[in-house]
Symmetry: C2
Subunit: 124 residues, 2 copies
Amino acid sequence: METEDIVHTPEVCNRHVIAVRDALYVLNGKWKLPLIIALSDGPKRFNEIQRSLVDISPKILSKELKELELNEFVERKVFSTTPVTVTYELTPYSKTLDKVMDELRSWGELHRQKIVASRKSKLS
Amino acid sequence: METEDIVHTPEVCNRHVIAVRDALYVLNGKWKLPLIIALSDGPKRFNEIQRSLVDISPKILSKELKELELNEFVERKVFSTTPVTVTYELTPYSKTLDKVMDELRSWGELHRQKIVASRKSKLS
DNA sequence: CATACTACTATCCCAAAGGATACCAGTATC
DNA sequence: GATACTGGTATCCTTTGGGATAGTAGTATG
């Protein structure tokens, strides 16, 4: 049942390439995932995010948040306090990324272990 | 059982960010995944790959193949025919990416559908 | 003897990503 | 009146990714 009866026509491969690229296009860049993870324990304000992700400049943070908003991973809420406060929080749609993130995370851990192990064996 | 008893300490989040970044670091760029998919139906020679991935220049192809080799996704084999031929093929380790790729692919398809749907609703 | 094939490398160039710094309006605080 | 807070923008700069083009050594083929 789990056997690989995959057909390797150029068309099928091409669809796969496109789908995977679509996914990576949305997730790539230096800050998208750190941002999503930073927001995963609740809404945060602009300056709060900037403080928790050390070394991100306001220009970059602004740009990344806009992109996350466009992709509907993040909702921006404005409160008319004085001064105005703005919060950013994850949308329900962002939860559809959970399995992708889990796989990326566990594979990333596996790969790091492998790298470390192969470094050691080369020091033999 | 599937409930989210995730602890959101900065340390845990940080480990997650690092692992996910490690994974994306290996997969990103314009050509890594097309290359892996291109090799998924068997070994290919350098010029064969270049012909099947239209528009990749030899410099880029060479660089990408070296990186894939470093990460042990691809094995390079030299045959002393005349002229020398070189083949590239996926390693068993590259199969550890299967689940990641599947998740990325299916999420990419989901996301594309969402984009298309939301475009339509905005044309209302 | 010229051309084509093998697998590349070298050089130069352009565009995009990312970052540093200064600045904006408005209000509150010292 | 100076400073600090809110959430950003504007400008300039550097780094990185990627691409175009030409060239390499050695052999074979016309």
